[in-house]
């Protein structure tokens, strides 16, 4: 048995049956990281010693019969989640020296449930990017390559390290965040599953903020059920986050077994864009066919304001980011570059500490909030955002879930799409509307394109109805029977 090949659910069963110990499991992943990570650059920080200690504690708990949802399960943590005593960089030079004295609510929930943390994984700087090319700690390489082409591909972003680590079997699952598609697009690019839950389901406390009203913590894992198990632990009301929802956490894993018989699945016509790649269209039709075969009813629907989603997103997200990132001023924590006076200290610290994409978004955000431009940009964007939300509310009167492609293409090569930021921003065209509306969205691997790269399908659902989203996602997963493996992986 190759431990790193197990799914999270299988590993959990193996630990409970004492087929192997938590220390053995953790050691297998640490060995895999040592072997494979140099080729991927998925991890920024590996916490091997702490992981072994946590695994030993998990073994003791298992022996004592104290079995929790994730006891002994090795995970990778996106470097946007503050971890007590462990450096948390947000993929930025400006936080390179930052060691938080506190644990984010989501990672604290995972630790409460017995998880083992292998380390902190790479990401686009401050979660701004769709390729993991903007990290101050270097790009992450996608474990997949095109058939007959060894060029390094991007894993997607911003949770590129999380997705690459899970796809290459360097962890059983990973935490991630999704502000415009940063969970779903990397999941699609790396051939794994990932869910952005409803806004308010997972606490944002202790997660370095990009755009507060759009940031959603969530899990990445190899299967839909594994995502459900992880989300169950990550979720829950947090009085420290004023936008956290005070709702009971359902049994997401059970929902994966529900099936889709009788469900109404919407196909939003606005997602069928001009010039859409035929392979994307084909996998979408395939997904609909699978659901129909399982007893779902397919319904054409309209989300008329979809076409404004991306433009609106690139006003709201930078606006919030420009304010959220003001605290990185070199005064209290993180990197500082001195200057002759306070203004120079700010200028030098921020000029050196932030990368180009972060600076671009701070400038855009500052601009759209400026006197004289606020009404035309930010206020108008908020109005459009309300219409996008209304689109979803209306359509969910007619259907139980929506099925769309996750991304307009498969993974692209490092260096591609880098010339024009707008081309890069188009990666998020299918994922952004769910962030604007706060509704849950899951990406599930559905097949390979002609070059052998994975393609994902996206399931969108009603707010706080992740259960239906899991049911639909699991049905596609069963029908797709996706068993392809990336070229770069542990034991591969």
């Amino acid at each position: 048995m190759i431990l790193t090949d197990l799914t999270l659910a299988q590993a959990r069963a193996g630990l409970r049956d004492r087929q192997f110990s938590a220390v053995e499991l953790t050691d297998a992943f640490l060995a895999a990281i040592a072997e494979v990570n140099p080729r991927l650059n998925a991890f920024i920080t590996v916490t091997g010693e702490a992981a072994r200690a946590q695994a030993a504690a998990a073994d003791a708990a298992l022996a004592a019969g104290d079995t929790r949802a994730l006891t002994g399960i090795p995970l990778a943590i996106k470097d946007l989640f503050c971890t007590k005593g462990v450096r948390t960089t947000a993929g930025s030079k400006i936080l390179a020296p930052f060691v938080p004295p506190y644990e984010s609510t989501v990672t604290a929930n995972l630790l409460r449930d017995g998880a083992v943390f292998l380390g902190k994984v790479n990401m686009d700087e401050f979660a701004m990017g769709s390729s993991n090319m903007t990290s101050a700690f270097g790009p992450v390489t996608n474990p997949w390559t095109r058939a007959g082409d060894n060029r390094a591909l991007v894993p997607g972003g911003s949770s590129g390290g999380s997705a690459a680590a899970v796809a290459a079997r360097l962890a059983l699952g990973a935490t991630a965040t999704d502000t415009g598609g940063s969970i779903r697009q990397p999941a699609s690019f790396c051939g794994i599953a990932g869910i952005k839950p409803t806004y308010g389901r997972c606490s944002r406390w202790g997660v370095v903020a990009f755009a507060s009203s759009l940031d959603h913590p969530g899990p990445l894992a190899r299967t839909v059920e594994d995502c459900a198990i992880l989300l169950g632990s990550m979720s829950g009301f947090d009085p420290k986050d004023s936008t956290s929802a005070n709702l009971k956490v359902p049994d997401f894993a059970a929902a994966c077994r529900r099936g889709v018989k009788g469900l109404r699945i919407g196909v939003p016509r606005e997602y069928r864009m001009d010039g859409m790649a035929p392979e994307i269209e084909a996998i979408w039709q395939q997904g609909l066919a699978w659901l129909r075969a399982e007893g779902a009813e397919i319904v054409d629907v309209s989300l008329p304001h979809t076409k404004y989603g991306l433009a609106t997103y690139y006003i709201v997200a930078p606006a919030e980011a420009s304010s959220n990132l003001a605290r990185y001023d070199g005064v209290r924590f993180g990197a500082r570059t001195n200057g002759a006076d306070l203004i120079e200290l700010y200028e030098n610290t921020r000029a050196e500490g932030f990368g180009a994409e972060v600076k671009r978004r701070i400038l855009i955000g500052t601009y759209v909030l400026s006197a004289g431009y606020y009404d035309a940009y930010y206020l108008k964007a908020q109005k459009v955002r309300a219409l996008i939300l209304k689109d979803f509310n209306d359509v969910f009167q007619q259907v139980d879930a929506l099925l769309t492609p996750t991304a307009p293409s498969a993974a692209f090569a490092q260096g591609e799409k880098m010339d024009d930021p707008v081309t890069m921003y188009l990666n998020d065209v299918f994922t952004v509307p769910a962030n604007m509306a706060g509704v849950p969205g899951l990406s599930v691997p559905a097949g390979l394109d002609s070059q052998g790269l994975p393609l994902g399908l996206q399931v969108l659902g009603r707010s706080f109805d992740e259960e239906t989203v899991f049911a639909v996602g699991a049905a596609i997963e069963r029908a797709a029977g996706f068993t392809a493996l990336p070229g770069i992986r542990a034991g591969g």
Binding site: S104, W205, D241, S242, R327, L342
Partner: protein
């Protein structure tokens, strides 16, 4: 007579509006659990939220909201059941987040009114535009090191109420009266301690001048003035400066200024050109603040009696003059003290003792009423002794003085010093007869029509009796002897 400044070109009216920052009385800060008390060691009351560490989020302190609502109710103001928090973005070393959480477009309290009383007994209604909640910044210390500035974040995140008045004030006197009245209301409500020296109440003073009948001219804002006296002085100095600018052919430019109390003048702080663009937008970390109407009504029902109501009651129930009533209600502790003294007594006499004799002692010793050396109970007992004839008014002053010095109860002092009033007519008759026989010339003058001499005889008799003679009996005895 309306206040005006006489310039070379005629009379100028002064237009004043105040923005008062009042620190909310609460255990914790507006959006964090850190303590909000004054005087702790630097940076001892700072949470990770106050220091704006990555991933930290604000959580609204419900008690601060209740305090703002109470204050709004005390200002007879509209309570907005839906309000919102916005971010005001600017960089400064003592502003850790890089923005202040404030309420810009939708404040928690809307229009209200404050009634002020002026020295001539007249009253005026001053409009309140709004009250909103916001975070205080930290403090920069520039005098601790030759090349470095130190930052104290204890104040960072403490809740403030910004109370904005309409430009309804027309003189330094009105401005002072408004500020004192506002302070009294806040202190009655227990929503701000009004301590301007410690900075828990600060005023930004907006001043402009105009000729009668004109529209408003350009105003200047004098920032962060920290006493009632300085506010009044700042109004005077800034108005005079503006009159001078206009009259010498110049133009007043809108700017922020500072008041220098040592020189009695205002100086520019920053002009409009380098004014910040604060890029206000709704804080996405906080949901709109929605209040329950029933909760607001519960707060309203639990409000204490406020200065205006108390003043009216003192005038109505105790027959006090408007002036005496105003003096007594200015501080809740004084009003409470007075009411305790006046219980079952002649209220006017009680008011007189509190506002004249007691206040004189407190002023001289620099004490507040809470630390009065004479308790309300003791003062009431002294009034009892006067009412039942044990001591007369003149002896009462000696007894009061002894109470102040010793802290003893009045009855103890009267017994110890033998100050009990003499009502024995035999003794009084004897004393009167002795005075008259010692002053035959004065008696002759009196009898020849100089009525005023009567007071002289009373004085001499009281002196002979060490002040203890019952004044009515002494008068009676003297009249009888002189007319014999």
């Amino acid at each position: 007579m309306a206040y005006s400044i006489e310039g070379r070109t005629g009379a100028w009216e002064v237009v004043i509006g105040l923005e008062v920052h009042a620190q909310v009385i609460s255990k914790a800060k507006l959006f964090s659990g850190a303590a909000a008390t004054f005087g702790a060691e630097a940076n001892a009351q700072v949470s990770f939220v106050d220091a704006a560490f990555p991933g930290m989020l604000p959580v609204l302190n419900e008690e601060c909201v209740a305090q703002a609502v109470r204050t709004g109710l005390g200002l007879n103001a509209q309570i907005n059941l839906v309000s919102r928090f916005d971010r005001k973005n600017y960089f400064y070393a003592d502003l850790p987040q890089g923005y202040q959480i404030s309420q810009y477009e939708h404040p928690i309290v809307g229009k209200g009114v404050v009634e002020i009383e002026l020295a001539d007994g007249s009253t005026r209604q001053i409009g309140v535009t709004r009250l909103h909640l916001e975070q205080d910044a930290g403090k920069s210390l520039h005098d601790q090191h030759p090349t470095k500035s130190f930052i104290d974040l204890n104040r960072s995140g403490v809740g403030l109420m910004e109370i904005v008045s309409e430009p309804d004030l027309r003189s330094p006197e009105e401005t002072g009266a408004y500020l004192r009245k506002l302070r009294a209301i806040l202190r009655y409500l227990g929503t701000c301690d009004g301590n301007m020296e410690e900075g828990s109440m600060r005023a930004d003073v907006n001043v402009s001048v105009r000729k009668a009948g004109e529209a408003y001219r350009t105003r200047c804002e004098v920032k962060n003035v920290n006493s009632v006296r300085f506010v009044m002085q700042a109004v005077e100095a800034e108005a005079a400066r503006q009159v001078e600018v206009w009259e010498s052919g110049g133009e007043v430019v809108q700017e922020t200024r500072l008041f220098d109390p040592a020189r009695g003048e205002t100086r520019p702080m920053r002009s409009k050109e380098d004014a910040h663009d604060y890029r206000y937008f709704p804080d996405p970390d906080l949901l709109p603040l929605v209040l329950d109407a029933d909760w607001v009504e519960q707060l309203r029902a639990a409000l204490p009696e406020l200065p205006d109501e108390k003043r009216a009651r003192f005038m109505r129930d105790f027959g006090l003059s408007g002036y005496d009533a105003s003096v007594l209600v200015a501080e809740r502790a004084t009003a409470d003290f007075f009411e305790a003294v006046a219980a079952g007594q002649d209220a006017k006499l009680a008011a007189n003792w509190v506002t004249v004799e007691l206040f004189a002692v407190l002023n001289k010793r620099g004490l507040s009423i809470e630390n009065s050396p004479v308790s309300a109970v003791a003062l009431g007992q002294m009034l009892d002794l006067m009412a039942n004839g044990t001591i007369n008014g003149r002896i009462a002053k000696d007894v009061f003085e002894a109470m102040v010095d010793s802290g003893d109860l009045p009855a103890v002092i009267v017994e110890r010093k033998g100050l009990r009033q003499v009502t024995d007519t035999g003794a009084i008759d004897a004393a009167c007869a002795a005075v008259l026989s010692a002053n035959p010339d004065k008696v002759a003058e009196y009898r020849s029509g100089k009525d005023k001499m009567f007071g002289f005889f009373v004085g001499q008799v009281m002196k002979a009796m060490a002040g203890k003679g019952n004044p009515a009996l002494v008068n009676e005895a003297l009249k009888k002897l002189l007319s014999a």
